[in-house]
């Protein structure tokens, strides 16, 4: 096994990085892949909460980096999915506690034992972001179909290219097909036209996601949810399978075309 390191980042906060990391990791582990997640958001850790593992944290990433424990001691194994592990962030420290080369060293130590290492990046473009992308083989940028999120995603893609970690892949999260139809939300093509990177997934907005993160039960384990299905599709694509994108924006015939023609602004 020689793990691929995938960093999930966005620039903008709150677009769904942590949720995506947790769900993609759970989907990969369900598929039998051995996965470890690393929460690189030191000081504002969330991945443990979303995975439902916060009660079991004894050691964290900073403990490992500062030599207070061995790497294995900081790894929490998920009881529901035995192939899924988490290295949580520290909550009482901040991003300066870890350096990019610490992250590279850590991931190199993990590589032989895993199929995938998923790094949950913090928001922003500073040290935390640089820590998170330093070990990456692949960077996934996640965004919402909103002008402000796309603006930040563009910036972060530029920085990823500047750090020679490109080309990045894109996930568009929280699509509301009804709003797209009305012309009140950016369509997938609008986002792709600006960001111009390869799309790896689109995820519909689903209120069940909030419930699932509150409970610490990744929604990709829920067979009925469309968002869950979208995360599972992303996991398949990461594994190299060709999975067609879910048709979220089905245009309905003549009226759909008409409403598009008179849409104001032409964004």
């Amino acid at each position: 096994m020689e793990a691929k390191v995938i960093t999930i980042t966005s620039g903008k906060g709150g677009v769904g990085k942590t949720t995506a990391t947790a769900n993609i990791a759970a989907a990969l582990a369900t598929d039998g892949k051995r996965v470890v997640c690393i929460d690189a958001d030191i000081g504002l850790r969330n991945l443990d909460v979303v995975l439902g593992l916060e009660n079991r944290i004894v050691y964290d990433l900073v403990d490992v980096v500062e030599g207070r424990c061995r790497l294995r001691q900081a790894m929490i194994r998920d009881k529901r999915l035995p192939e899924l592990f988490l290295i949580p962030a520290a909550q009482t420290r901040d991003k300066s506690a870890v350096t990019p080369s610490d992250m590279v060293r850590l991931c190199d130590e993990l590589r032989p034992d895993f199929d995938y290492i998923l790094v949950d990046s913090p928001a922003g473009i500073e040290r935390g972001f640089r820590n998170a992308i330093a070990p990456a083989d692949i960077v996934i940028v996640i965004t919402n179909p909103e002008v402000s999120a796309v603006r930040d995603a563009d910036r972060i893609i530029g920085m990823i290219e500047a750090e020679e970690k490109g080309p990045a892949r894109l996930i568009i999260n929280r699509i509301k097909p009804e709003m797209v139809r009305r012309g009140d939300m950016l369509a997938t093509n609008d986002v792709l036209e600006l960001l111009a990177i390869e799309l790896i997934g689109i995820i519909p907005d689903d209120e069940n996601v909030v419930m699932s993160t509150n409970r610490g039960l990744p929604i990709s384990m829920d067979g009925k949810s469309k968002a869950g299905q979208a995360f599972r599709n992303i996991a398949c694509r990461i594994n190299g399978e060709q999975v067609p994108f879910m048709d979220l924006e089905k245009r309905d015939g003549f009226f759909g075309k008409l409403s598009r023609m008179i849409r104001p602004g032409g964004a």
């Binding site: 603006r151 930040d152 563009d154 910036r155 893609i157 530029g158 600006l194 111009a196 602004g265 032409g266």
Partner: protein, 224 residues
């Protein structure tokens, strides 16, 4: 032996192109050809292209002298080898053919590029957060995304979508222009004037923005 030597007329006399092969053989072949056409070639000035060969002063000197005995003047040696060129130059031989005749010269088209003006060509899309600044003109083959900025002392031409901020004539040149295939900047400045793109309707067309009576105006692109 197949002759690998080509002789052709040029402005300054004759250009002899030696082909591949051992120097000794090729030189002999040249001299043979020359003596065969001695009457025709007499008094001619020869430029000899020796290709990749590295020749010593003795060889070049000997060639010049032998040709001279035939009434021919070796005035230039052309070579891909810098060593040969240097050797030729120390012997007083030219290593380049002269410039074309005045009437063959192309008259430059009247442009705004005076001496000292420069332009930079950028062949990529500028992403958000990228700032491109240049004291001369800027030409971009790609888009300028929102959040990117282009600041030029001269003109700005965007062969793509201009959606970021742009400042032409940033050092005060009020004759500066901004052109784009899709002129939709978040903010457009020429010299000290600022303008915001009005709400656009319909298809995007190439446009040019300039100052007119101290105000920024944008017009559909029309080369006339």
């Amino acid at each position: 032996m197949i002759s690998t030597i080509q002789i052709k007329g040029i402005r300054d006399g004759l250009l002899v192109s030696l082909g591949e092969g051992d120097w000794g053989e090729v030189r002999d072949e040249l001299l043979t050809q020359v003596s065969q056409q001695a009457d025709f070639l007499k008094g001619a000035r020869l430029a000899v292209d020796v290709g990749n060969r590295i020749l010593r002063a003795a060889e070049l000197g000997e060639l010049r002298d032998t040709l001279s005995e035939q009434g021919l003047t070796l005035w230039a040696v052309l070579s891909n080898s810098p060593t040969t060129e240097q050797t030729a130059q120390t012997l007083g031989l030219a290593t380049r053919l002269s410039k074309p005749r005045p009437d063959a010269q192309v008259t430059p088209v009247e442009t705004r590029l005076q001496g000292g003006e420069q332009a930079v060509l950028v062949k990529r899309t500028l992403r958000s957060g990228f700032s491109l600044q240049f004291p001369g003109h800027i030409v971009i083959l790609g888009d300028v995304n929102p959040g990117a900025e282009v600041i030029a002392g001269g003109d700005v031409v965007v062969w793509g979508h201009l959606r970021g901020t742009v400042h032409a004539g940033a050092e005060g040149d009020e004759t500066a222009i901004v052109c784009a295939l899709d002129l939709s900047p978040t903010q457009l400045r020429i010299a000290s004037q600022i303008a915001i793109t009005p709400q656009r309707r319909g298809k995007t067309i190439p446009e040019m923005a300039r100052l007119s009576d101290g105000r920024v105006i944008a017009e559909p692109w029309n080369p006339k």
